[in-house]
């Protein structure tokens, strides 16, 4: 099978790659580009561990083809911090211990970033529904919700 040539923007950098027509964006990120922050928990769009933002839209990268990234702007967890300065969500996840094993954390951070971009002042219920596409098996979500609430407060003040 011939490869598809793709030119895209990932975390602000122009990236070019060849991928197979049936290859998911998640596989391209992880296996071709070495961006293993996005995780594969299910491969069927049910767990959200592979969440990325494409042109301001939150998606499961396991449900997007690598070829579909052509000309798009992609944000992954690797692009959230600025140099050595963590994003407020990253900082609040650490302070609130909003992670135990941490495998779902990149997906939650990306989903929460997308949520706060669209709704900077969410209620608890809006946070809970906004993050309902991301599975966490360790925390019971309590500390994740509190971390997002706290980050929203910090980001509003910034």
């Amino acid at each position: 099978m011939a490869g598809v040539a793709v030119s895209t923007t990932i975390n602000g950098d122009t990236i070019e790659y060849l991928c197979q027509p049936d290859e998911t964006l998640l596989d391209v990120l992880r296996d071709r580009l070495g961006l293993t922050g996005a995780k594969e928990g299910c491969g069927t769009g049910d767990c959200g561990a592979c969440s990325v933002i494409i042109d301001d839209r939150l998606v499961c990268s396991c449900l997007v083809l690598g070829a579909e990234a052509e000309g798009r702007r992609i944000e992954t967890v690797e692009g959230m911090a600025h140099g050595d300065k963590l994003h407020p969500l990253q900082q609040k996840f650490l302070e609130h211990a909003a992670l135990q094993c941490g495998i779902c954390t990149p997906g939650f951070l990306i989903a929460a970033k997308d949520l706060l971009a669209k709704n900077p002042d969410p209620t608890e219920e809006e946070i809970r529904f906004g993050l309902a596409g991301n599975l966490c098996r360790c925390t019971g979500y309590d500390k994740i919700v509190r971390a997002v609430q706290d980050a929203a407060t910090v980001m509003k003040g910034a």
């Binding site: 767990c47 963590l86 650490l94 211990a97 309902a132 019971g140 309590d142």
Partner: protein, 754 residues
């Protein structure tokens, strides 16, 4: 120096604080490397072919077409994993589970595997493997499997533990019994008796990270394995034994682990990956799909439990009895035995008897799931206790307080308790504001208690002091949820230094002595004990070096708050030396300074919790919402309270999923029908309320800081607490978990029709 593990009642400076975990930044930036995040040059992709049948004889496997496919570098079957288990029945079962030998025993059982240059080629190769099956009758239900006419899963199994040796094989592998006193007599003295039967369905641990490993076997007989596991030393033992290697030649590195909850405590794909690598002569990466995780990795038992409890009018329980049947998958286990031990562990009973039956079924091999076997037994017992309280007209908390086990009580499973937390958790619940909060229409409140043994085990720690005075701590218990933070706090406490001066890592199997796996809530309990011991050994050397620097006797040097201090008037002008100052001179005072510890961490203190839950049941749809939840649990000493709260909340959330929603659904064909997160639905963020926690600290006398394990007990009470709440809200006793909307509706309708 002999290590004294007894509780000393010291005041803490670091322990009990809540610093950011040392592995935190890597985990929020995507840099942390989990099982599937590691790659090697020249690596192949491994894939496993699995049986579509619940029970089938494997007549023949033809791999020739797959082997001929361009890009395929190795194909293996059971013939490539010969039986080297030498009569070790448990290891033979693990081997057979890794790769079916003569029979496929469940839908998803591995029968062959390939390694190819890419995933597409590997998938194609699987389709070219021809397996000739003779399909056999199957059984997946625990009660049906006990019937005498049920299909036999293993005709060499004869029930153990019966008075008379059976003459016919059976799906029941073992009968076990616990208790004391005379239950018959006890029931004779009771004014009220409640007898109920319960069922719970099979659930999966549901870790978000599928099993993943990279195996690299060299032609010189050495090998490396990178793997997500709860116990890399145990995986090394298993793999070395199954592949005929010396353990020292196999170096196993534990990756970050994306959840385990008991499900990553024995090998599945790792021996297969090693066998593929050995055959192909190249590294092989093998990652399970989610479908494979559900179909072929460790679910918990499905159960069927009968409970009978009798009490006098004054609320004293006179006798308690339970019969517990637990499915084990197709291989023997001790799941019902554990259920039978834990069932009545919360209570002070003169007459108690529990009987457990281990039952083979054509389902995946049962694996541990967080306090394995205890939640189902607690569901049955605590539901019956609630019913009995109602019969007696007593408050359910008061009834439990009256009968709660205490220090000195002989437990239902044998040992006599030391200081324990069941009474204090109940007293805390009694006065908790949650118990007095008003309820609305269709809402109900329930509470329940839970017990878990906790475990210690073999543990080894290295504590190395650098010449700059910083400290590295190498532990061998895999960090499943923050133990590097808690162990750093413990080392900082003992050495008298700041948390920031330490860095803790999980060492690989070639860099540290053997460690049992992280199970039994032992991670922080046992490794903190070894860390304290290692730190005390290092302090001894630090004092010796300080004495040398001062040219005084070591007996005149004590260790206080991170400094060597010279004691006595004659040394009044010497002042003190910091750890950093002593470390800087180590090159000229005798070389590197380190403390090591190898021990068996005995005396894991038993753990108790009591949970309160409010639910709202929609009588039209049978749908249930948890609207408030409170966990009260004894931690002994909470080393890092935030992560202790996290364990309480996480266990409660898993229990809520189990109670209301999660179950393995098998078709008549014996195939799993919901092998994915869409159809096997674990709780999502919008399903749950905040989960309140209250940490009690009743020191464990067998740990220097009083620590008890905290990880597992939190999943024990929820099934029962929620069942009691739902039963109170719906006005009908729920006896079948999960209480999914159809089951609740059916129960309400049956009650209406009388």
């Amino acid at each position: 120096m002999n290590f004294d593990p007894r509780f000393s009642g010291r005041k803490f400076a670091s322990v009990g604080t809540r610093p950011i975990r040392p592995d935190g930044v890597d985990k929020v930036t995507g840099r942390a490397r989990y099982g599937a995040d590691f790659n090697m040059a020249g690596q192949l992709v491994g894939r496993v072919l699995r049986s579509p049948h619940a029970h089938a004889k494997i007549r023949k496997i033809d791999t020739s077409k797959a082997e001929a496919l361009a890009g395929v570098k190795a194909v293996i079957t059971a013939a490539d994993l010969p039986d080297l288990t030498d009569g070790d029945a448990a290891m033979y079962d693990i081997l057979d589970n890794c790769m079916a030998r003569t029979k496929a025993l469940y839908d998803g059982h591995a029968v062959a595997a390939v390694a190819a240059i890419d995933a597409r080629t590997a998938r194609q190769a699987l389709k070219l493997i021809e397996v000739d099956y003779e399909v056999l009758p199957h059984v997946t239900d625990v009660d049906e499997a006990m019937q005498h006419h049920a299909p036999l899963i293993n005709d060499t199994v004869f029930t153990e533990g019966l008075e008379e040796k059976p003459v016919k094989p059976s799906n029941v592998t073992k009968r076990s019994q616990f208790g004391h006193g005379d239950v018959h007599q006890g029931f004779g003295h009771s004014d009220f008796i409640v007898e109920r039967s319960f069922k719970t369905e099979q659930t999966h641990q549901g870790y978000i990270e599928p099993h993943a490993c990279v195996a690299n076997v060299s032609t010189d007989g050495t090998a490396d394995l990178w793997v997500c596991t709860q116990g890399h030393f145990v995986y090394r033992q298993h793999c070395a034994q199954l592949l005929g290697m010396e353990a020292s030649k196999l170096r196993v590195t534990s990756s970050e682990i994306g959840g385990g909850f008991g499900g990553k405590t024995h090998v599945w794909a790792e021996p297969v990956a090693l066998a593929l690598s050995r055959k192909a002569g190249r590294p092989v990466k093998l990652v399970m799909t989610r479908d494979e995780v559900f179909r072929a990795s460790g679910p918990t038992s499905a159960t069927s439990i009968d409970v009978k409890i009798g009490a006098r009018k004054d609320g004293t329980i006179t006798a308690a009895e339970a019969t517990l049947r637990y499915s084990a998958g197709p291989y023997a286990g001790s799941w019902a035995e554990i259920g039978a031990m834990t069932a009545f562990a919360c209570y002070r009973l003169d007459n108690v008897k529990t009987v457990g039956f281990e039952v083979l079924v054509n389902r995946p091999k049962t694996a541990a799931y967080r306090a394995p076997s205890a939640p189902m037994a607690a569901f049955a017992v605590e539901s019956t206790v609630d019913e009995l309280a109602k019969e007696l007209g007593m408050d359910p908390v008061e009834f439990r307080i009256r009968n709660a086990a205490q220090e000195g009580t002989r437990s239902s499973y044998g040992p006599v308790y030391g200081p324990i937390g069941i009474g204090p958790t109940l007293e805390a619940v009694k006065v908790h504001p949650h118990m007095k909060a008003p309820l609305k229409k269709n809402q109900g409140r329930g509470m329940a208690c839970g017990f878990w043994f906790n475990f210690g085990g073999q543990t080894c720690v290295d504590l190395n002091i650098g010449m700059d005075g910083s400290v590295s701590l190498a532990v061998g218990t895999v960090d499943v949820g923050g133990s590097r933070a808690s162990l750093s706090l413990v080392a900082a406490e003992e050495l008298g230094i700041d948390y920031s001066q330490l860095k803790a890592i999980v060492a690989d199997t070639s860099s540290l002595g053997y460690n049992d796996m992280t199970d039994g809530s032992r991670g922080t309990f046992s490794s903190s004990m070894a860390t304290i011991s290692a730190a005390r050994n290092a302090i001894k050397i630090l004092r010796e070096r300080a004495a040398q620097m001062w040219d005084i006797s070591v007996d005149d040097v004590v260790w206080e708050q991170g400094h060597a201090v010279a004691k006595g008037e004659k040394h009044g002008n010497l002042g003190k030396l910091s750890l950093k100052e002593i470390a800087a001179k180590s090159g000229t005072t005798g070389g590197p300074i380190a403390g090591h510890s190898e021990l068996v961490a005995d005396g894991a203190g038993v753990s108790f919790a009591t949970h309160i839950c409010d639910v709202e049941v929609d009588p039209e749809t049978g749908s249930t919402r948890v609207i408030r939840y409170t966990v009260v649990q004894d931690a002994g000493k909470a080393v890092h309270p935030t992560y202790v709260e996290g364990q309480y909340q996480g266990g409660a959330a898993q229990g809520i999923g189990w109670a209301l929603n999660e179950e393995y659904i098998y078709g008549k064909d014996g195939r799993l029908q919901n092998a994915g997160f869409l159809d096997y639905r674990i709780p999502v963020c919008s399903d749950l309320p905040m989960i309140d926690t209250q940490i009690l600290e009743i020191p464990n006398p067998n740990h220097p800081y009083g620590v008890r394990g905290v990880g597992e007990t939190s999943i024990v009470p929820p099934l029962a607490a929620i069942a009691n709440a739902v039963s109170n809200a719906a006005g009908v006793r729920m006896t079948h978990i999960p209480m999914s909307p159809p089951r609740i509706l059916a129960a309400i309708e049956a009650e209406r029709e009388g």
